[in-house]
């Protein structure tokens, strides 16, 4: 089958979407962006093809063995990938010890990291075996890193193999693992995944078919903040504004206005009935009011970014915040707290302040038309959504507000659609 790929190279994550020849979505992939842009794009693309192949075998496996087996197979596949990466990471750390750690410490260090990696592997196996595991980041660097740090802290010896030494080793090697090509594709791991779940014969033919399916990459279009650094010819690069507009239009065909709030920038986009952008506005060079601002606030409060929204939701009123300057975020917060305002109300005010900035961009771009789609990382924050709904109602009246669970893939989807359109045209 001919496929069309869209890659969205963002400042924090890289996303890929694969479309079939009919333009339907076959698969999506995401990875953290890294210094090697080419590799980030490759990993995201590979992930998208993996989900595409799983998509191909889904129906048959479900029919033959039920949904649970499919879930087990997928988890086993992910475990196999994770173990391969852990294995490589262990190798690199061991090499690094040999090269850089002083002789009197190296044996101890080697023993320590073996202990850490053994424990991490066990933990990973347990996590994937769990039917209802604790939610966590999808990225290897986060999952592996958090386990590694925990064990390192446990076994570190301040007078011998210290925590700092172990952390230093990890930091150096995780970057290498991420920036070297490692075989993580469907064909490389599906067999071991099958083995792990006991080689069920009833899914054999379906897996075989998925493995052998010819997914031929007909055309790829790149987009996103880092698009200029993608190793693509110029004709294969599209602005993320256009991709976001088209992607949002495809997710919600009635969309006329798109708001995207990412880590570094905010975009307000108007599209016509075909998903063609008719006008857009972006924030100026200052990142005030973008996702990054919430990041600073979360750091300042020493809580996770994902906890901000729910905490703000508990407020009964909002404190008026006049500046969304990232530089003053901490100072503003401390001053409000010292004035006796409660945390939830301040947070509600901060969310409102961010959305106020977005509202001015929306107004500049032409306002909010009926059917309005909110994308980007901040769209996952319930307090931001609530503030947006409120301000939209107050300013423009009732509007349909769409938020897709897959909104992070909007830009990549748009890019894939451009690839698809152009070949068809």
């Amino acid at each position: 089958m001919k496929c069309f790929v869209g890659i969205d190279l963002g400042s924090t994550t890289t996303k890929a979407v694969v479309l079939g020849s009919d333009g339907a979505i076959l698969g999506r992939g995401i990875t953290n962006s890294r210094s090697n842009y080419d590799l980030a794009a490759k990993v995201a693309r590979e992930e998208a093809f993996i989900t595409a192949r799983f998509g191909l075998l889904r129906q048959k496996v479900e029919e033959a063995a039920g949904p649970q087996l499919l879930d087990h197979l997928l988890k086993a596949f992910r475990l196999s990938q994770t173990l391969a990466q852990l294995h490589r990471l262990r190798q690199l750390v061991a090499d690094e010890i040999e090269r850089t750690v002083a002789d009197h410490l190296s044996a101890g260090a080697l023993a320590a990291i073996n202990e850490i990696f053994d424990a991490t592997e066990t933990e990973e196996e347990a996590w994937f075996a769990d039917d209802d595991p604790e939610p966590r980041s999808d990225f290897f660097r986060d999952a592996a890193g958090s386990a590694y740090m925990r064990y390192a802290e446990e076994i570190a010896d301040p007078d011998g193999v210290s925590f700092d030494l172990l952390v230093g080793l990890y930091d150096k090697c995780i970057i290498r693992v991420e920036n070297e090509p490692l075989e993580l594709g469907f064909r490389h791991h599906i067999n071991s995944a099958l083995q792990r779940i006991g080689d069920p014969a009833e899914v054999d033919s379906a897996v075989q078919a998925a493995r052998d399916a010819e997914l031929e990459e007909e055309k790829t279009v790149g987009t996103g903040y880092g698009r200029a650094r993608l190793p693509f010819p110029k004709e294969q690069i599209r602005s993320e504004i256009l991709c976001h507009g088209l992607g949002a239009h495809t997710l919600f065909p009635g969309t006329r206005t798109v708001l995207d709030i990412g880590g570094q920038d905010t975009k307000a986009i108007q599209v016509d009935g075909n998903g063609i952008v008719t006008s857009f506005q972006m924030n100026d060079r200052c990142a005030a009011g973008c996702g990054r601002y919430l990041g600073y606030i979360a750091d300042e409060m020493n809580i996770g970014l994902h906890e901000l929204g729910p905490l703000a939701q508990k407020s009964t009123r909002y404190v008026k915040i006049n500046s969304t300057c990232t530089v003053f975020a901490g100072a503003e917060l401390r001053e409000r707290l010292s004035l006796g305002e409660n945390r939830e109300d301040i947070l509600a005010g901060l969310h409102r302040a961010i959305i106020l900035r977005a509202m001015s961009l929306l107004a500049r771009s032409g306002g909010i038309d009926e059917e309005f789609t909110f994308t980007g990382g901040v769209a996952r924050n319930p307090a931001a959504v609530k503030a947006l709904r409120q301000l939209c109602d107050e300013t423009y009246g009732a509007r349909t507000l769409n938020i897709s669970a897959d909104s992070i893939f909007t830009g990549a989807l748009g890019a894939a659609l451009f690839a698809h359109r152009e070949v068809r045209a």
Binding site: Y225, A228, R238, S239, E240, I241, L242, D272, N274, I276, V277, T278, S279, F280, Q281, M282, D284, R285, R364, G366
Partner: protein, 427 residues
């Protein structure tokens, strides 16, 4: 790359001519104190070059020096010097650049020293900062200052009583001040002679600017345009040299029209023009070529710009009139782009988009200049409404390199042009 460079290096005769004229002018300025030639500092909008010349004085335009410093990579240090001396980071960087240059020895754009002014002619035409700029320079030079108040066209026209106010000031304040500083008496015939030359120069310039109505356009009316208006904006309006330059320029442009050629850009000749744009706002000078390339790489040519009208809106019919020397100078000052109200500026953009058959328009909003920038978002909206064409909005600065974010600007320009292409494709 090499080929591109070569084509950029290729210079038309007019460019050589301009370079020589400017070099000669600055050499003359350097000698002026020794030769006893009086020097008058004044601003581009509302510059009364013919009058200054008729007194045998030489004009110096501080904005031109500031933008040249920006292009030569000197503005960053000059601005830093001024900020260290207590100037706010919030205000116009032309002023800070000029003051920084002064504090660093006052070496002008061609490497020669600029003479101190004998007179500061504060032609207050459409920019509040001008007033403070010369108040600041007055502190440094301790020389006489003449203030010429040019009423703003708040109602979209220069009212007769405003015109009279300007001519009264020229007659009663400015001319006596020039007489005193230069030791010469007012020579109206000589002034008429210069005004006649000015009108001739203006005819040629308008022909050059309007050549952009051709397809392909033989000029880039913004990035190229700032070179074309250089002589007429600085010291050469109303001079023989000015006429010669513009004649030459015009003949080159006419030759390109006849040959169906586009302008020379940093990427070589731009004959294949995919986008015709109108631009509002001054350019960024510190990354001028990089900025231009963001357009030329996408095959976008600018067919009309408002910035090239800050020194006069000749393409709307104004010509200096030797038969009414004072009145014509009043009309000139009142009609400079900076002195037009917002509705008039919007009308002008709409007219350009229509007359030059533009595909789109772009506003470069500079942090320095509130005269230009305050209200540009409203202009964007109104022009979009009236033409049905979406506009692009980018933000930078005149000569402060800290405010030129290349990635951000490139992203916007690319997105905008792709949007225009997608719209055109969908239509």
């Amino acid at each position: 790359m090499a080929a591109e460079k070569a084509s950029w290096v290729h210079k038309d005769r007019s460019m050589e001519l301009q370079k020589k004229m400017i070099a000669r002018h600055f050499e003359r300025l350097e000698r002026a104190p020794r030769c006893g030639e009086p020097v008058v500092y004044t601003f581009v909008p509302g510059n009364l070059t013919e009058l200054i010349r008729s007194f045998g004085a030489l004009p110096v335009l501080p904005e031109i020096n500031a933008l040249q410093s920006g292009m030569r990579g000197k503005s960053k240090d000059y601005i830093a010097a001024a900020e260290r001396a207590g100037h706010s980071e919030d205000v116009c960087t032309y002023v800070k650049c000029d003051i920084g240059m002064l504090k660093s020895g006052n070496i002008g754009p061609t490497g020669t020293k600029l003479p101190d002014p004998d007179l500061l002619l504060l032609s207050y035409t459409g920019c509040y900062t001008f007033m403070k700029w010369f108040e600041l320079l007055r502190e440094e030079y301790n020389c006489p200052t003449v203030f010429l108040q040019v009423p703003y066209q708040g109602d979209g026209r220069l009212a007769p009583e405003h015109r009279e106010y300007i001519t009264d000031q020229i007659r009663k304040d400015l001319i006596p001040a020039l007489e005193q500083v230069t030791g010469r008496s007012y020579d109206e015939d000589l002034l008429r002679h210069h005004l006649g030359l000015a009108a001739e120069t203006e005819d040629h310039l308008v022909a050059v600017l309007e050549s952009a109505k051709n397809r392909p356009s033989p000029i880039d009316a913004y990035f190229g345009g700032v070179y074309y208006v250089g002589p007429i904006f600085s010291a050469f309006r109303g001079t023989e040299e000015g006429v010669e330059y513009y004649k030459e320029l015009r003949s080159e442009v006419e030759a390109r029209v006849a040959a169906g050629l586009g302008p020379i850009t940093p990427d070589g000749p731009l004959n294949d023009q995919r986008f015709r744009l109108v631009v509002e706002g001054p350019p960024n000078w510190t990354s001028f070529r990089e900025f231009w390339r963001m357009f030329s790489e996408e095959h976008a040519v600018v067919v009309a710009s408002t910035y090239t009208k800050v020194g006069g809106t000749y393409d709307f019919g104004f010509r200096h009139d030797p038969d009414d020397p004072l009145g014509t100078m009043a009309d000139y000052c009142g009609g400079c782009y900076t002195n037009l109200n917002l509705p008039s500026r919007i009308d002008m953009l709409v007219t350009y988009i229509r007359d030059y058959e533009a595909d789109g328009f772009l506003i470069n909003s500079v942090k320095s200049c509130n005269s230009f920038s305050a209200g540009q978002l409203m202009m964007l909206r109104e022009v979009e409404k009236r033409t049905g064409i979406p506009g692009a909005f980018i933000e930078s600065d005149l000569v402060d390199p800290r405010y030129f974010s290349a990635a951000n600007i490139k992203n916007r320009i690319e997105s905008y042009l792709q949007m225009l292409a997608a719209r055109a494709g969908a239509a």
